[in-house]
Symmetry: C3
Amino acid sequence: MTKSSSGNFFEDFRLGQQLPHAVPRTITTGDVALYSALYGMRFPIQSSDAFARATGLSRAPVDNLLLFHVIFGKSVPDISLNAVANLGYADCRLLRPAYPGDSFTARSEVIGLRENGSGKTGIVYVRSTGFNQTGEAVLSFVRWVMVAKRDHGRPAPDPVVPSLPSAVDAAALVVPDGFNASGYDRVLAGSLDLFDDYAIGERIDHIDGMTIEEAEHQIATRLYQNTAKGHFDAVVQRAGRFGRRIVYGGHIMSLARSLSFNGLANAAFIAAINGGRHVNPTAAGDTIYCWSEVLDKQALAGRDDVGALRLRTVAVKDHGCEAFPAPDADEGASVLLDVDYWALMPRTALDTAASNGVARPPATHA
Amino acid sequence: MTKSSSGNFFEDFRLGQQLPHAVPRTITTGDVALYSALYGMRFPIQSSDAFARATGLSRAPVDNLLLFHVIFGKSVPDISLNAVANLGYADCRLLRPAYPGDSFTARSEVIGLRENGSGKTGIVYVRSTGFNQTGEAVLSFVRWVMVAKRDHGRPAPDPVVPSLPSAVDAAALVVPDGFNASGYDRVLAGSLDLFDDYAIGERIDHIDGMTIEEAEHQIATRLYQNTAKGHFDAVVQRAGRFGRRIVYGGHIMSLARSLSFNGLANAAFIAAINGGRHVNPTAAGDTIYCWSEVLDKQALAGRDDVGALRLRTVAVKDHGCEAFPAPDADEGASVLLDVDYWALMPRTALDTAASNGVARPPATHA
Amino acid sequence: MTKSSSGNFFEDFRLGQQLPHAVPRTITTGDVALYSALYGMRFPIQSSDAFARATGLSRAPVDNLLLFHVIFGKSVPDISLNAVANLGYADCRLLRPAYPGDSFTARSEVIGLRENGSGKTGIVYVRSTGFNQTGEAVLSFVRWVMVAKRDHGRPAPDPVVPSLPSAVDAAALVVPDGFNASGYDRVLAGSLDLFDDYAIGERIDHIDGMTIEEAEHQIATRLYQNTAKGHFDAVVQRAGRFGRRIVYGGHIMSLARSLSFNGLANAAFIAAINGGRHVNPTAAGDTIYCWSEVLDKQALAGRDDVGALRLRTVAVKDHGCEAFPAPDADEGASVLLDVDYWALMPRTALDTAASNGVARPPATHA
């Protein structure tokens, strides 16, 4: 009778179902400014039109995580409003760069369903895809969520669990159209360390920390038009499992990405997210630190200017990462995020600022 | 002697007085992004340039409430800096759409004055009008405020109370130039319910809640260049009537409008505000919920693509609206806002996404 | 071994050293909207494209303090990440206006070094310069910071202390290219008081106050890509000297500038900052008030439309400025900022709104 929606329950999904998502959205330089201000983002190609142009792009592209959050946000009202838990994501690929002024829509397909033994919940697997105003796919990812059943008596569907890659194949990574690292100024970018300076197994403590305020994560999550109640409604949350508002997991991803600039300044683009886990919930007042490990390195076919680093970034709360804390180790209770992704990094670069007679001081490696 | 202003007092106003307001302002996509992030706004025409173009507009117009707040904010330093209370508003009409890049000014005319029996305060009625850079009126509304007298001994002016309409005549509502609902995609918009699906007397619980933080309402109110001290100055407020900062009433209007998307997704434009009452003050920490009732429906002359719904939206704090709480009922103490407005809603629409072979799941009406 | 940086220490600096700073940055209307929303900025030339055009500019320029914060922010990772104290700044000159869409870089030169007697710290003097995308200098300033030594045993360099002007010469002040006050509408701007209405020695209480929230100063400081830990990391700060996060000093400058609109509405541009002192640290929860004094007035060669006012603005916390509190007076403990700057103010203006038959009410001088 009422026209408002309480979201889909497990029995509302069926295999192969296509769900077009509301709401179409243009990403503008206003969104980019807010994104920058919420995380302190410093990656140069996304920060400066002039710098981006020097690398062959038409202007500064939208940060790939901002694009991810916007597409993800669209899927929430249809997929995860009644989620008991967001269990994981996989095979997230950035297919085309997004530029301010582009307009996006999103659609999901149900690719797996499995009712849980309790008969009260089930797991829904969807592939969500974002499109730009010309209908080109810009981003695609799989996620799976545990969703409540409305009617516990409904029979379970035949279980289908999709087969998912543990990591995106480096051959599938997309370098943004027009990009060429020959014009990438690493002195301006903030670090002399390029692709070939990183070794598999190398670990980097990103040192800096950032404390989260309620207003910040709420502003971020609304910017993404993500409607998950747990992030905004203190009254409902007070009565719930955590007793308080929970920070959108993607907010931690963006904070960690921003903090990782200190040690990965030339990790210019996130090209894929292989998987990720929100190990513990995050709340306002938590202070986020992170560290990264180089899991793999791959040259890209036909490109000698840029390579792909497979990185694992672990974010924790309330203490530094000198000891590289991991979920299954002593300090595991403080781990918030454990994410595995591919970043594109220049193999060659200009040192324009230096060639202008400006010498950079030796970096301090504390 | 000093050049700073403490605002006008009751005896500074005279009937027929024209008050040009500072400060001229351009509304940009930056303002739109902030507005979106502060309220989680999801109405598709204001969210996406591509969607707006499909309905005949040149790009996504500025949300009419953002325009209202900006024009209202300009009037504060001249009209209501010494207001004891904002008593009401009426006859607010949106006359022309605003687009990012447009520059606005505002002016008010004193249309009524009535001193109160105490001789310490009086009521000032003004009609405020906003103009764009070409001098066209974009917005007009009447409001009345109780203003302190500086000198209690000054004689009272002859009382003049303007006659105000209880509602804007539907024939006066303006459909934005160029708009045609034939290109409005209701699947992308997020709801299949159009004008003809709503019935007079129908009530809608908008379900979702949002908790307000101090930083959020301060950022919003400064964005509107509204200088009312009560919203920003914790020291002065601590010594005052409420003991704390009070949220700008328009912030609650925008939150309620945003929450009302869940049930009124196709209420594409606010075309007029017939009246409104801030029943109780709002402070940071309050969680806002709301419900709406369809008060009236009107076809628009010469248009079969769009009609006007007269809506009442009631916002409350700290509990849901399943019981449709009203100011004069049991839960009246929690009611914050009671507003009566006209929204334009398509009567016809495309289902593009559906025609692309995408079937929308049946909406869940919990 | 690690690739992350902990910043430079005293012994990393040498006289004449040139430090190119990361990160290049485009300032957009998105940044301008955020800046406006964080401070409630109301100066008309920066607020309205239409108003700016009427004064001969191509559009609303970027607020000079926003430009300052962005350039300052770039210098932080190289200059002051290990600062024990920011001791002062001088000779800050705005050389060219910045417009939305311009891209900026920054560079510093070490112009002085002096180790302290303790052998544990030293003072570094740098001149920092900001450049736009065509390589033109837009802003230049000197600052000096006390920086920790990494190795206390390292010998001290020969002390060099640069000679700095106590104030920028008025003859060096730059009026933005194209600006002409003949089209400046003082009624729209919000005050009839022009350059010739101000007297040397005149003091102005700016009356209004604003309370700072953690989210606000964090969002601001990240917008400037300023990485100083003390502003963001509650855990590190809890163990430190102040026990809590400290607000970026520039945030107080911008708040004071915004509040000073009430009394200095026509102080259209900050043209130079002669010097400034952050007298006490500021934390979230503090409510900022300020007052100004006219220190000097100078006509500008070849211009009869605009003059320069040398202003001192003092910001305090938690009480009003009726008594014009100064750092060395009774209420000195509440003083946060004491800044000395040149502002450009029209000497002639239009009263367009008034000539349109609109009479402005007499300003109320409480």
